[in-house]
Symmetry: C2
Subunit: 336 residues, 2 copies
Amino acid sequence: MKPQTCRQFTLAARPTGKVKESDLAFREVEIPEPADGEILVHNEYFSLDPSMKGHMEDRSDYRAPLQIGEVMAGRSVGTVVKSRHSEINEGDQVFGFLGWSDYTVTNGKSIPVHVYHEKVNPEAALGVMGGTGMTAFFGLTRIGEPQSGDVLVVSGAAGATGNVAGQIGRILGCHVIGIAGSDDKCRMLGDELGFHATINYKTEDVGEALDKLCPNGIDIYFDNVGGDILNECLARLALHARIVLCGGISHYNLEQKPPGPDNYFNLVFRRAKMHGFLLSDFSESFDEAREQLRSWYEQGELIQKSTVIDGFTCLPQALVKLFDGYNLGKMMVRND
Amino acid sequence: MKPQTCRQFTLAARPTGKVKESDLAFREVEIPEPADGEILVHNEYFSLDPSMKGHMEDRSDYRAPLQIGEVMAGRSVGTVVKSRHSEINEGDQVFGFLGWSDYTVTNGKSIPVHVYHEKVNPEAALGVMGGTGMTAFFGLTRIGEPQSGDVLVVSGAAGATGNVAGQIGRILGCHVIGIAGSDDKCRMLGDELGFHATINYKTEDVGEALDKLCPNGIDIYFDNVGGDILNECLARLALHARIVLCGGISHYNLEQKPPGPDNYFNLVFRRAKMHGFLLSDFSESFDEAREQLRSWYEQGELIQKSTVIDGFTCLPQALVKLFDGYNLGKMMVRND
């Protein structure tokens, strides 16, 4: 049932420390009308991502910050319900930074969208083929440069990006070790997603476990968390190792910067690199990546794992839960 | 005057904290005789390098450690005084890890040597064309990937590797900023070696100075020191910056690891990389590099800066002085 008004969440306050539900404000507005050349999208699934916190903060690090009172930014997938656009039709499925709103108007460029003329599974559109899936794809393939037989360690491995990075590593012939924060997550990685080994960092000594699981060192470390786990991996690099710096969820909740990794100098002894990237660096190759991911997904090699919370009004709560590590795989909210 | 005996320094104790003269022991032995296929080299100039401390320590980081009682390892340049080798002649000049000894015997492979059939300036053979010059060359060109117009910051800029890295950057069209520890060193970099700007880290606030000198950020940071200066540079990276991790002289004197660089996460926001390397990674290209460096040197584009201390018995003292930052350019001892 489509709502008669357009519900939205706007940025009410910039988060300090952990994100709180009260950092977002609910409002209802009239459903917007698309002008000539525009489409009206009904958003059906909303993506929750750690990077959202950076977007809510007043930092010029890599993206213009949201202004207080603006509609919360975020990726979603939805259906075109009205089109005055020459190439996008009613019924088409679209994906993009459409924001926390029941409906969004765009000409496809003001807010760039990817159009699926043939619908795909919306969870996969947000997950393995979405922003986090492509982040995993480019980070692993372009920065990690995996070779068959490489030992790949992924932290935040049960998260949206981590689980896909590990799965792609498995597809490409790596020996994949996932680090996650619960036995349930570790079981899911091993039993469902084909990780070769897992470490529960809350109950195991990560350094000791790595010593056992990769006695010859780590060829690729796909880092989603930073902090101590990054430092333990730095201490155990194989020659010419690559550290893919994808995120640092252990950073996002802190008001103060945590200490730097004091094992970084091992990069010299191991002739290794630590390389940061953002998905946007690879925008020219998005279509190619999505095609590859879709193909692996449709062949059943790449599994979509989601934690889906129902109801538009749950969006702020879902964001808080994301930072509490509640999700297995991609955290998303399904519109009601 | 050639000595009638062969003086040597051996490793007497593994250094803890700073290197001390007493970590080395003097002895005299008979001058060795070359066997069939071997040469006898009289060592004339000895290179002093920060990496020697790592070699003296019992660490398996990247090279087999010296054993107590063994002749101290180090690069030198000398003249072949006896040859029973088919391709190396008496009078040839050779360069290699010949050790702290008046005389060294090798077949050219047990201790690999580079042979100059036509003699070059021995200071340049150890300096701009030696291990530190080639380290600067490969670090800057292969890891730093300089483009004309890039802002290049070099720390330890008055040191043996740093001054050459900065000069090569200047030759390749970079805007070169050198960080060094005295006004004399800074003057030398600007007046003699063509650095575009300098920072005396002992009297200036490095962060503020960098803000003024490179308002658009740092494209390449050639790191010879680690520590706070690395962290200040991490905070000021341009997009797609490259950090060349060459050494960390601020590390070598410490018994405890210093804190890691807590600005490392800026590598993500700036899509930048931090890449360690060792000279030995590029051994296949040594001859090519030496040719390029020699050509720049002979054309007067690359200046050899040395601090030369006279007398074989000064070797331990010279090593201590190296870690005190006594040298401008390449630290070496001339044999008497």
